[in-house]
Structures are given as C-alpha cells and as structure tokens.
C-alpha cells in the first residue's frame, strides 16, 4: 500500500544491530525480552546507548563504548517511566536508592513503555517461577497497539514523519480513473493540435523555394501554387485553433472534476473521522487543506501538466521534423538547447525562492491584520495604535525589500530569454548561411528552421516551471492524502444490531481509555438505571468529559465495554445510537441559518408546531418572538446578537426536539451568570424529566437534583452516592464542596512562596 510508504518503518530494521549484540551477552538459558535504543546520555547529549530486559536481569549501557551494567531481578526493584518536554526517562530504584537512570527522545517512548511492561512481567515471573503471561495479541512492533486486518498499525500509519515525494501525485490516479476516456481523447487531441501547429513553418519552405526565390530570379509567380500554400496555412491555423480549443476544454473539465471529487471525498472522509482527529487539528489548517490544496492540484493538472505535455510533444515533433529536413543543421540548432535549458533553470530557481519568500512575507502582513483587527478593543484600550502601525509598517517594509530583490531578478528574466533566443537564432543563421553558401540547403529550409526554432526557446521557459509546480502539487496532494489515509477510530460495525425502543439503561464495565500514551480513564464501573440522573464531578482533567465522550461514542474505549440496554454500543449503528442521545454543551454552537433551522438541526423534518413546542419547553419561545424575524431570524456561526443564555436555550430546544432517551449536559450552565443559569436550569428541568441524564457541572450546586453523584479523580471513580451521603462521608466530594465554598477567601489570601534574592555563602 502506498499509504504505508510514508509511515515510519517499524523498529525491526533498526532493532537488528543491537539484537545481535544483545544476544551475545545472554547466559545459557537466558532469553531476551525487550530492548530500548537510548539516544540521549545523562546530560541529554545525543549518544547511543542500550537498555535490555532479559528473563533474569536488566542490562544497560549508557553510551557507546562504556561498559555494561546489570541488575539481577530481586523483589524490591522498580522501573519507573516518565516523560517531559520531548525527553523520556526510565529510572531503576530499589528500596534504598536510585540505581540508574536513562534518557531518550520522545520518539523512543513506545519502545520504552514496552520495555517497562516487559520488565514488570519478567520480574514477576522470575520471582514467582511462573512463565510470564504471553502478550495478548501480536501488536504493532512500534507502539504495541493491535494491528488492523491488513497488518498495519492504525496508530502509527497516522503519524507521518516523512517528507512528501512526487510519487504522491501518482495516487491521484485513483481519482483520474473514472475519466480515463475523456483523458484519452484529450491526449489524442493534444497530439493532433500540436501536429497541426507544426504545419505552418513547414509550408514556408515551398513558399520560399518554389515561389519567392524563383520570382526573384525572374520567373512569374505560380498563382495556383500560392493559393494552395496560403490555403494550407489558413487550414492549418484553423485546425490548430479548433483542436487546441477542444483539448483545453476537455482536459480542464476533467481536471476540475478531479479536483471537485477530491474535495468531496476528503470532506466526506473528514466527517466520518472521530473527534480525536479534530482535537489535534486546527480549523484553519483543515480548511486550507480541503479548499486551497485541492484547487492547487486542480490547477496543476489543468494548466501545468497540460502545458508540459504539449511542450514535450512539440519539442519532440520539431526535432523529428528538423532532422528529417537536414540532420546537420538540426544538430547545430539543438546543440545549444541543453545549455539554454540549464541557464533558464538557474534563473527560474532563484526566482522561485524569491516568489516563495514573497508569499510567506505576505502571510506575515496578514498575520498583523488578523491580530490587530479582532483585537482592536485591546489595542485601543491600551492606546497601542502607534505600536501596531509600526508593526505593520515593519512587515510591509520587509515585504517591499523581498519584492525588490525578486523584481531585480524578474526584470532580468524576460530579456534574458529574448537574448538567448537571439543567440540561438544567430547560431542557426551563421551555420545556415554557411550551408546555403555550400549549396547544402536551400533558403527555404533555413527559413523553416528559423521559424521552428523561434518558438522553441520560449517553451523552454514554461517547461522549466514544471519542477516547482510539481513539488508544490505533491505537497498539496500529500496534505490531502494525510486526511484520506486516516482511519476512522470509531468504526461502523459490519452487521449492526437494530435498536428498538430504548429504555436508557447504561452500563460501563471496566472501562479504560488511553489517549496516545497517556492513560485517561482506568477501571471505570458504573450502572445507570433508566431515567436516573447522574452528576459527574471532579477536578478538571479528572476524566469527566472523556467519560461522556466515550458514552457518546466520539471515541471507542481502549478496554472494557459500554452497554446500552445490554447491547455493546460498538455493535450498534452509529447514527442509530446517537439518535438516542441529546447533547448540551458548554459552548452551544449555532450553525448559520434561521433559529428554526437550528432547533430542528437533529430532526430536519420537524413540523413548525414541534419546533415551537420544543422552544417553549426550553424557555426560548419568548425571546425568539422578540427577535426581529422571530423563528426566521438568521443567526451566524456563533449566534451573533444572541446572549450566551439565549444560545444555550436554543441548543436545549434542539436536544428536546429529538426527544432522546439519554441526555448529556456537559457544563451546560457554567459559561453564564447565575441569573441566566437559573433560567437555563428551568429549561433543563423540563429536558431532564424522564430521561437518563448524565450531567457534568463545575458548580456543585447545580447538581442538587441528581439522583447520584459520581466523583472522579485521575481517571477513576472514587465515590458514588447522594449529596448528603457523600457529605457525611467527608471524602473527596466533601473536600471539593468545601473547596468551592472557600474558593473566594482562598483566592484572596493567595500565599506567596519564599523568595530567595541573595543567599549568603555556605548556607546551601
């Protein structure tokens, strides 16, 4: 698969050298379990080291050339793993002290985690005498994640750490296949139109030799011959015009279609990707990829490739014709060609870097604009208009300087091409005259040659552009295929179970979730009865939102299972399952459209009565009527003109309209003031009634209505119970509650840590 070529090669190739060395260290009966190539030394300099786990001991060589250290397994050994800012470390402890510590860059982290696991397993097995449990399944050699059906690691294939190659462009073939017939005809037309363009210079030969020169020598002009030749010229011109039109039309059409297919397919694929993917990408980046990259590829196909093929054909045909007329003169004409091509390439190259630089500088200018205009209130409030103007002027000055430099080369470029053409013509003239003087060729042949060659050099210029445009298009194609190669991490089941009437019973069994290498949730067990309201509380980062995301199946659990009415949610059709979930988020998102459209987002065929009923229940009806066009008022991307509370109530109406069995409130009231919160709370009370509800709230007071509170800490459930029961227990919830009550005073009294400005000598 092409997709795999750009993914980093599994470790096996790199692993080989150390494996051989490691095996020579083993005692009889000892086996190698895991190895880690260390690429940093203790002072964090790049250096090669090696860490090995065998069935009996841990072996380490800090850097190349130093000796091996070993620690035979004993009960109090402990290997701990940490990573910070791109550097990972493994440290070996016993009860009394640290025995060793090793560093490596983050790229080695998966191997390090595997080594730490292997250490634990081998140590336990060594102490208990039982063989270590075999790994559950054959995982990816790089990160240990389970492989997909094709034996590729979905996690590693995603991380592309390789530069683009022009070969990426070949993958566009998949999109070109439906258009192979138009493409074929396009090619034939290109061939024909280029050939037609070859005719006029050819006809100058008989015009010279059989008409004009005989006339100069005293013979009358043969009118019928002239008519024939001129007619031929006209016909050739008309033919070339028609063919070239048809060719350009067909091929541009195909290119535009390919570009549009590429866009649609990418967007469709993007919509199918899980939230995990969007979490790591910036909106602007994705927009640019789908919008401008596909456009760039389309341009490349329709303009640059087309021109290039035409040029190559033209040069090949011209060369063939010239050689057929007179090989010697042809040789003299074509010899300087490579040299001229080289010269053009040289200038082009400089120009290209200049243009690229100018492009980037331009983005610098837009950065200043993008910074200043949205932040204009801050700029004015701090009276920094002059400074922003200075910043803009500086960026603009750089832009000017870069463009000046480009223009120096650029202004030279066109005249240079003309000069080169003139020199080429000069060579042909000189050699041609010499040949004519020797009666080796006729004047007509020389004229034809001159006519052919003058078109030659200008084409070389456009041909020289193909290198850079190909590179750019390849980079664009790669960015698009990055998206297309991404495998959805929430797969649709092959044979989904049908979901009948849902009661809303949710069970979480031993749920664990890892994000990359980081473990976010561990061993979460929870059963939620139909119609029950659960309040999720805990510090930020304790895994509340992750848990909710898992229940919505925005991600899939790493271990364990989530069941709805006894059926694993992974066995249900995604759309079917999510239809039963209503989600109200902290930041309600309104799409561009009318208020009614926004309320009916989850159920586009809802009647007006239903929409109004939902709005009433969400306490949104009154304020919607106050809007200038009522339910038909337009609201923008973020609902301009609506307050936070109003937007929130529209989103509650949206959730009410689909009448879900399960309701999820993720900090639904935390971004509004207490007054608005009370209003929203009333709307929410309508929403919650009779539904299984999971609510996350920062303000614990908003969860008073919850049947049970679930307290989370560091990815685990630490307490479950009612408010009163948990308060009586004086555990984690009690502390949270107390902290919130104390919050205001504590903030005010914020203790300052001891400061050291000057420490007297000898006190450390």
């Amino acid at each position: 698969m092409e997709s795999n070529r750009y993914a980093e090669k599994p470790d096996t190739a790199q692993a080989e050298p150390w494996r051989r060395e490691a095996e020579s260290l083993l005692a009889p009966g000892e086996s190698l379990s895991a190895g880690l190539r260390l690429d940093l030394d203790a002072e964090l300099h790049y250096a090669e080291g090696l860490l090995l786990v065998t069935s009996r001991r841990l072996l380490a060589r800090a850097t190349h050339g130093t000796g091996w250290q070993e620690w035979t397994f004993r009960p109090d050994l402990r290997l701990s793993h940490r990573d910070h800012a791109g550097v990972g470390s493994l440290e070996l402890f016993d009860r009394a002290a640290r025995l060793g510590s090793w560093r490596f860059t983050i790229g080695q982290n998966p191997a390090a985690l595997r080594l730490a696991d292997a250490f634990e397993a081998q140590l336990q097995s060594h102490l208990s005498g039982r063989p270590p449990e075999p790994p559950e399944e054959e995982g990816c050699p790089k990160c240990g994640a389970p492989l997909d059906a094709e034996g590729e690691c979905p996690a590693c294939a995603r991380q592309i750490h390789a530069p683009p190659s022009t070969r990426t462009l070949l993958r566009l073939g998949r999109f070109a296949r439906p258009y192979r017939w138009p493409l074929f005809w396009g090619f034939i037309l290109t061939l024909a139109s280029t050939a037609a363009a070859m005719v006029p210079p050819y006809l100058t030969m008989p015009l010279m030799d059989d008409v004009l020169i005989p006339y100069q020598n005293g013979q009358p002009i043969d009118v019928s011959l002239v008519t024939l030749l001129l007619g031929g010229l006209l016909a050739a011109a008309l033919l070339a015009w028609g063919l070239s039109w048809a060719k350009t039309y067909i091929l541009s059409l195909v290119a535009e279609h390919i570009g549009s297919d590429l866009r649609t397919v990418t967007f469709e694929h993007l919509m199918g990707l899980s939230l995990e993917y969007f979490g790591g990408k910036r909106t602007g980046d994705l927009m640019a990829r789908i919008g401008s990259e596909s456009d760039r590829i389309c341009q490349f196909l329709s303009i640059h490739v087309l021109d290039f093929i035409t040029d190559v054909l033209m040069i090949a045909m011209t060369a063939a014709i010239l050689f057929s007329i007179n090989p010697w003169l042809a040789l003299a004409t074509l010899l300087p060609l490579p040299f001229i091509a080289w010269l053009i390439q040289l200038v082009r190259d400089r120009l290209r870097t200049g243009f690229e630089k100018a492009d980037r500088i331009w983005s610098e200018i837009s950065n200043v604009l993008a910074d200043t205009i949205p932040g204009i209130r801050v700029v004015k409030a701090f009276a920094q208009e002059a400074r922003e103007t200075r910043r803009f002027r500086a960026a603009n000055a750089v832009n000017l300087a870069v463009n000046d430099r480009v223009n120096r080369v650029w202004s030279l470029f066109s005249p240079t091409i003309t000069l080169l053409t003139a020199i080429g013509l000069l060579v042909v003239w000189a050699f041609g005259i010499w040949l004519v003087s020797r009666d080796r060729i006729t004047v007509g042949v020389l004229t034809a040659f001159l006519a052919y060659i003058s078109r030659f050099y200008t084409r070389l210029d456009s041909m020289s552009r193909i290198v850079s445009t190909t590179q750019r298009a390849a980079a664009g194609a790669k960015r698009l295929f990055d998206i297309l190669d991404h495998v959805a991490s929430v797969p649709e089941p092959a044979r989904p179970l049908r979901l009948g009437e849902v009661s809303g019973r949710i069970e979480l069994r031993e749920v664990a979730f890892r994000y990359g290498n980081r473990s976010v949730l561990r061993g979460v067990d929870l059963a939620i009865a139909p119609g029950e309201m659960i309040g999720l509380v805990g510090h930020s980062g304790s895994g509340k939102t992750t848990l909710v995301n898992l229940i919505c199946r925005f991600y899939d659990v790493t271990e364990g299972a989530i069941r709805l009415d006894g059926a694993d949610i992974r066995s249900l059709a995604l759309a079917d399952y999510r239809r039963n979930i209503g989600l109200v988020l902290q930041e309600p998102f309104l799409f561009f459209g009318s208020v009614a459209d926004n309320i009916a987002y989850g159920k586009p065929d809802a009647t007006r009565e239903e929409i109004v009923a939902a709005a009433r229940a969400a306490h949104a009806h009154d304020f919607i009527l106050r809007l200038p066009q009522g339910y038909d008022s337009l609201v923008g991307e973020r609902g301009q003109g609506l307050s936070g509370g109003e937007r929130q109530r529209i989103s509650i109406a949206r959730a009410l309209l689909i009448d879900p069995r399960i309701l999820i409130l993720d900090e639904a009231t935390s971004s509004v003031d207490t007054e608005t919160e009370r209003e929203i709370q009333k709307a929410l009370d309508n929403l919650v009634r009779g539904r299984t509800t999971i609510a996350i709230a920062h303000r614990l007071s908003t969860l008073r209505k919850a049947d049970r509170l679930v307290v989370m800490e560091r990815g685990r459930i630490v307490e479950v119970g009612s408010h009163d029961a948990l308060m009586a227990r004086e555990g984690a919830y009690f502390r949270l509650y107390q902290a919130q009550a104390r919050n205001v005073d504590a903030d005010a009294a914020g203790a300052e840590p001891p400061r050291i400005e000057h420490v007297k000598r000898g006190q450390s």
Partner: protein, 155 residues
C-alpha cells in the same frame, strides 16, 4: 524578602528542599521562568504537586554548590538542542527532513511546515519538529553561509 533554603539530592536522585522554616519538600524540580529570554533569571523550584515551593531571582548570585546542583538538574531536564549547523534538508517543500548539528550532537528531525518555525526577537528562531521537540537557533546571523542559505528558504 530573603529566605534561606537548603537543597540536597537524596539517594533516589530527587532534590530535597529545606525551607527556612524547616519544612522539607521532596522531589522539587527547577523550572526556568524565561527559558529563552533570560535563562538564568527567575528559577522556580516546583513541588511534585505543581505548587511553587521557592523562587530564585538569579542563578549567578547563588553559592557555587547550590548553583551546581541546580544546573546539573536543569541540564538533565531541559531538552532544547541549539542548532549550530544545518547539514542538509530533504526538500524545500514541507514536510521536510532536516539533518542538523546541535550543541548536543548531530541529529535528524522532520519539520511539518514553515509555520512551525517561530521567530524569537530579531535573529532567533524556535523550530518545532513533528514530535514536538523544540530546537533553538539563538542567532541566525551567527550560522555559517550554507546553513543560513538553507534556512532562508523556509523563512
């Protein structure tokens, strides 16, 4: 406010801070407040729970043994190789694989895009690779001609 502190490394390799009032914190970590702009000014000793346990105004006013201990710990923690030379780049279109010489030895990395090169002041650059490791170019003008020319294509 001046406080006396004592700092020691225990057998587990952790730094143990003893404040003036006799309170001890095990496993403090030194963190530079301005790692690029002023690396030697403002160093916080952060306790394992993420709380600031002590604040050191300037590294060079500390007594030698304490400073040495801190510098040693910092050098084991901070990883921001300083690029001294660019040996080569795989292509001028990104992503592009770079082969560089740094103050920590030679290495290779992949640059995702031009936007991952951040300007620092007038002539400094901070380059983030595809794995999130940062590389510093302290002074663009101090690089040799070849490196400058290669880098120039990305700026």
């Amino acid at each position: 406010m001046t406080a006396d502190i004592r700092l020691e490394r225990n057998a587990f390799g952790r730094l143990v801070l003893t404040c003036a009032d006799g309170e001890t914190v095990e496993g403090v970590v030194p963190v530079r407040a301005f790692p690029i702009a002023a690396p030697d000014d403002g160093i916080a000793l952060v306790a394992p729970d993420g709380r600031e346990a002590a604040w050191i105004e300037r590294l060079d006013t500390l007594p030698a043994p304490l400073r040495q201990l801190l510098e040693e710990e910092l050098s084991r923690r901070e990883f921001m190789p300083e690029i001294r030379r660019i040996h080569g780049v795989s292509s001028f279109a990104t992503p592009s694989a770079w082969s560089v010489g740094t103050d920590r030895g030679d290495t290779e990395f992949v640059l995702w895009g031009e936007e991952f090169i951040r300007r620092l002041g007038k002539s400094g650059l901070l380059i983030e690779d595809s794995r999130g490791i940062h590389y510093l170019v302290r002074d663009l003008k101090a690089l040799d001609r070849t490196s400058r020319r290669l880098l120039d294509r990305f700026l």
